[in-house]
Symmetry: C2
Subunit: 197 residues, 2 copies
Amino acid sequence: MPKVGMEPVRRKALVDAALSVIGDRGSLTVTMSEIARRAGVSPALAHHYFGSKDRLLIETIRFLLRQLRDDSVKALKRADTPRARLSAIIRVNFQADQFAPETIAAWLAFYAEAQRSEETRRFLVIYARRLRSNLLADLRRLCPADAAERIAEGAAAMIDGLYIRQSLRSVPSSIEASISLTEDYISSALAPHSKED
Amino acid sequence: MPKVGMEPVRRKALVDAALSVIGDRGSLTVTMSEIARRAGVSPALAHHYFGSKDRLLIETIRFLLRQLRDDSVKALKRADTPRARLSAIIRVNFQADQFAPETIAAWLAFYAEAQRSEETRRFLVIYARRLRSNLLADLRRLCPADAAERIAEGAAAMIDGLYIRQSLRSVPSSIEASISLTEDYISSALAPHSKED
DNA sequence: TTTTATTGATTGATCAGTCAATCAAAAATA
DNA sequence: TATTTTTGATTGACTGATCAATCAATAAAA
């Protein structure tokens, strides 16, 4: 089996496996053995490539973040008006794969971890800021700066809140319902500033 | 020392200690020894009274929930108009002690735990439903039923979202800012339904 | 004396992390 | 081309630490 060039393959497989195990378990208290087993390698190999469990977990959250960023960039490219761009941002956050129970569980686990790990916290702060500033950029074109800031703050909070509420699987709020709730918030918050009507 | 009637005293001390340790650590992966130490007793005593770590944790979240419910009941008693009651609900959720970093960390930890523990999940679902139905009751008096449902959903999500965003301590959003953001959401969502203007 | 409160000592399980050894491909050499 | 050397990939077995849970023993009240 020892073919050369396995490193990137194994790293990817281990990060995928970590995400999958974390999603299933809904917690970061997963063992290296379990992750390695799902990736089809030995626990020792996971340590070989990542050095420690913490590093593997950090790489895993970076992966999650990168994916969301890439999706955002792609979606924003397809939208032209400020209002369409706002809708695109909302849609990306509630995309099917983002809204899958395992993905939500993983994000939640990382939020909890951020209370202990400074590095994890930094990554999540990056996410929070990015969401806020993406919204802000387009809102500024639709209303005064101070209103834009408030609406961005509110919309970001609503998105995160719909997300966390979804994690309880209590009121099976659908993707569409979440999107339209956020859309309506932005629309009615913008209403007083719209030129027409 | 063995004075009779210590059980309720110890139970309370242990639950308080658990909450405190969880808040500090920002995680449920805390040891019984640590909790017991903070409560000033031996780990064995904690097991004696609670049977297991899981039970102690469950009692701890029940305590958190009961506290929030009691505060809500008290606040609602002081408000008379529907709109004032809505404000009261919002204010309770952003109360100083609820918004303290350790409390937020504890809630977050329990949300993560809810992915694994059915019992923990049930408790959080109760919280989510209560918030929603408290809001709903008064909203129904201010707008049509379908709009009330949507606004309740949105406001609950915004509250939870502001909460989780606060946990990152990135944009030091103040209590007042969070309250007014939620108030504004409700006001502007209600605007189209208001009799005047 | 019986009951309640309390603990120290111990056990058994779980895990992250280490390490020496193996195996096979690739590169170097003959 | 054939042979040897080097190197990357991989693992099984092990270690040390941590921790939940148990239990027998003690001490003080009732």
